[in-house]
């Protein structure tokens, strides 16, 4: 057993690429659920919008990288928010939940469909759209940085990721202390109260869906840039719930909650992942119980279990208090 690798990987989980992707996605969910009370179960589609916005702009449409950013961060998420929000934001909360999860499934089917191959690359997805991003890389590709955790290209992704994440945190912090954030929190608690005071609840919910969706798209775009590919497999329905677990773990409606949650989540996931892999590789794990490919399935089971246990035993998250916001509020 290589304990050094296990520790190093767990630490990487705390601050590395997946932490960035899912912090951003969970920041978006926090805007949706934590502050506005919207049940978005399709954050993975917003992530996909970021990834495919960029990659389709560059690969399919032949536009340059900057148009890709515009398409991925602004246009695709806005359209998506309209499609999912217009029919549901006037209705009871679970309709949005159903439509967002249906949107995830639609994305999966469409993105994998061979008949749209020349647009989306179907199952294999699209690659080689992020060269422009790496052109700006000031780090040496051959060298390792940050306690030897990241090689040059990764360091560049992670560094930009941290900066973007800080900006997003700042935006959330500022807006949540403003009258705008006050309206959102009022809507979360009682939409009718907000409406009786002249607030257009529908439009505020739509704004929340759009902005939180853009944060998700940023996360997805980083995932595409970091892995240099946009693949349907990376944005399937279940991916959304990694962000949910991060959000609930850190505590909804706290500005730093999603970040703390994502760090802890990926610390734990990477730890178990590497541990299990090493157990399998070194023959400690009987073949009958688990083999190499099944290790990847374990992390999904952990996400499912995590959702169940958190929702039942710790709805306010690790750092939250019940007075402010908890999953089991009525």
């Amino acid at each position: 057993m290589d304990w050094g690798a296990i520790i190093q990987n767990s630490f990487r989980g705390f601050i590395g690429e997946p932490f960035i992707y899912f912090s951003l996605a969970a920041m978006g969910l926090n805007m949706h659920y934590g502050y506005t009370g919207l049940l978005n179960f399709g954050q993975a589609v917003f992530m996909a919008a970021g990834a495919y916005g960029l990659s389709m702009a560059v690969v399919t449409l032949g536009l340059n990288f900057w148009w890709g950013l515009l398409l991925g961060i602004v246009i695709f998420p806005l359209l998506l928010a309209l499609i999912m929000g217009v029919p549901t934001l006037r209705l009871r909360a679970d309709y949005l939940a159903i439509v967002t999860i249906a949107a995830s499934e639609m994305f999966r089917i469409i993105a994998r469909s061979p008949s749209l191959d020349r647009w989306t690359g179907s199952s294999d997805g699209l690659t080689a759209f992020a060269n422009r991003f790496y052109d700006f890389n000031p780090f040496d590709k051959q060298k390792r940085y940050f306690f030897g955790l990241f090689i040059g290209n990764q360091m560049w992704v992670v560094l930009v990721g941290w900066i973007v994440l800080s900006i997003v945190v700042l935006i959330v912090w500022m807006t949540m202390r403003s009258p705008w954030g006050r309206v959102l929190r009022a809507i979360r608690e009682d939409e009718d109260a907000a409406r009786s005071l002249g607030k257009n609840a529908y439009w505020f919910k739509m704004q929340s869906l759009m902005i939180g969706g853009m944060f998700g798209a940023l996360g997805g775009m980083f995932r595409a840039i970091g892995t240099q590919s946009a693949q349907p497999q990376n944005f399937i329905t279940d991916v959304t719930f990694f962000a949910w677990v991060a959000l609930i773990l850190g505590g909804a409606a706290k500005v730093g909650g999603p970040i703390a949650g994502a760090a802890i989540l990926y610390g734990i996931l990477n730890f178990t992942d590497v541990l299990l892999r090493q157990l399998v590789e070194n023959g400690y794990m009987p073949e009958a119980i688990m083999d190499g490919t099944q290790v990847g399935q374990v992390r999904f089971m952990m996400i499912g279990l995590g959702l169940i246990l958190l929702a039942i035993y710790r709805p306010q998250g690790i750092f939250g208090t019940k007075e402010e916001m908890a999953l089991d509020d009525r």
Partner: protein
């Protein structure tokens, strides 16, 4: 006109001749590139999917998906047949199951040997292997007659299965307010249990599908009852919010799904009994005997459930609790008992639905989740919380899915149903049978 021809006709309309020629060129180019890389690492598995047309000419079948699974059941690669029916995948050295995704076959086309799908191939670096997937005779499918009627029959079949699964979803929602995202896993569980009993067998005894189904229904019902007892009833007692309950149900959905994947593997599997059946040609459409039996079973179960809801005391109690829980409680109905029964019956029906679905298509670890979304579409169309609405909504969804293949590619047929879900919410959110939402 045969289904295949019709499909090709539509394909032809969709893609301009230019794109076609270009695509072919590209394919030739890619093919060359692929065989070069095959020399370096991994091997190539390839084939030519062809079928006889009306004139007995062999023509390629485009747009069919092949997937390669490694020995652990993980999908390592997938591809789609080109215009001339050719396909190829490069995979690392090893043994693979090559699966033809039957869902992507054009309407009316089927495999001649469904039990030889997936096919197993072993590849070493630099090797190239051809795999044959013979299709059913083109003459047979062209004799099937009217495609629209065929699609309606298929749609009814699908809709009935969705309906059977959706009753539980709708009743659980009605009586407890919970949108149970884990309901799909009851469907998968039923199908997988049937597979275990029918194919793998317990203690070396393989049960015939009919007794196996009976056992599956019993197991699923008890499992549903147990699930309610151990998880949902305590949560209701503690007064947990509906959002917390919703999240818990999603947690269970994911957890169960991946446990099933872990145990059952990612490969699609088929039941042993009634797999290969000669289809009856009934002039206007074709139907396998098992499909007829399946439809008869579904209809009788649905009629049974509807009359139980309508006429028995328990059924009336269920509807009363659905309508207004507090009122029902005050008239002396034991609400918890009703909810228990709803969970048991709903899960049993979902399990049965899973077996029937497994009988017509194949069984895989996420089939229930796929069907769950179709159930949502059906239930929303009919009106959330109404039992009869769920029935009609689901059948319409089934029809819609099959008929939509007339205009959209088969592999995207479910998108139509999900789009319909969104459009319904836009124009009539209470569904066809629901009442206008209460406010204030």
């Amino acid at each position: 006109m045969g289904g295949v021809q019709l499909m090709t006709a539509f394909t032809g309309v969709r893609r301009s001749a230019m794109a076609l020629a270009f695509g072919l060129l590209l394919l030739v180019g890619l093919g060359a590139g692929a065989s070069v890389s095959a020399q370096e690492s991994g091997g190539e598995v390839k084939g030519n999917l062809v079928q006889k047309d009306d004139d007995g000419e062999r023509v390629g079948v485009p747009g069919v998906t092949f997937r390669a699974f490694d020995e652990s059941g993980a999908e390592v690669s997938s591809t789609t047949t080109a215009e001339d029916g050719s396909w190829s995948m490069i995979v690392p050295e090893g043994t693979y199951d090559i699966l033809l995704d039957v869902e992507t076959l054009p309407a009316g086309v089927s495999l001649r040997n469904p039990d030889k799908n997936p096919a197993s191939v072993t590849l070493i670096d630099g090797s190239s292997k051809s795999t044959l997937f013979p299709l059913g005779e083109a003459e047979a499918s062209s004799a099937g007659g009217n495609t629209v009627i065929q699609l309606i029959v298929d749609g009814l079949k699908l809709g009935l299965i969705i309906a059977m699964c959706a009753i539980g979803l709708s009743l659980i929602y009605g009586t407890t307010g919970l949108t149970n995202f884990a309901h799909g896993e009851s469907v998968t569980f039923g199908a997988v249990m049937a597979y275990l009993l029918n194919n793998a067998g317990v203690f070396g005894v393989r049960l015939h599908l009919i007794p196996a189904t009976v056992i599956v229904v019993l197991i699923c019902g008890s499992a549903g009852g147990l699930f309610n007892r151990t998880v949902w009833r305590p949560m209701r007692r503690r007064g947990a919010s509906l959002v917390a309950a919703l999240v818990v149900s999603i947690g269970f959905s994911i957890f169960f799904r991946y446990v099933i994947l872990f145990i059952f593997s990612g490969r699609a599997k088929r039941l042993r009994d009634y797999q290969i059946q000669e289809q009856w040609d009934l002039g206007l459409f074709r139907l396998a005997p098992k499909d007829l039996v399946l439809m008869i079973i579904s209809v009788s179960v649905l009629v049974g459930v509807a009359s139980a809801l309508q006429f028995t005391r328990m059924g009336k109690a269920m509807r009363a609790v659905s309508d207004n829980r507090d009122l029902a409680e005050s008239t002396g109905i034991d609400v918890e008992r009703v909810i228990s029964l709803v969970w048991i019956c709903g899960s049993a029906l979902a399990g049965l639905g899973g077996v029937l679905f497994g009988l017509t298509e194949s069984i895989n670890w996420e089939m229930g989740f796929r069907i769950l979304l179709l159930m949502f579409a059906g239930v929303t169309l009919g009106g959330l919380g109404t039992a009869y609405g769920a029935l009609f909504g689901s059948i319409i969804v089934g029809l819609f899915i099959q008929l939509s293949t007339l205009v959209i590619p088969t592999d995207m047929k479910n998108v139509g149903a999900l789009l319909m879900l969104i459009v319904i919410l836009l124009i009539r959110p209470q569904g066809l049978f629901g009442r206008r939402e209460r406010i204030g």
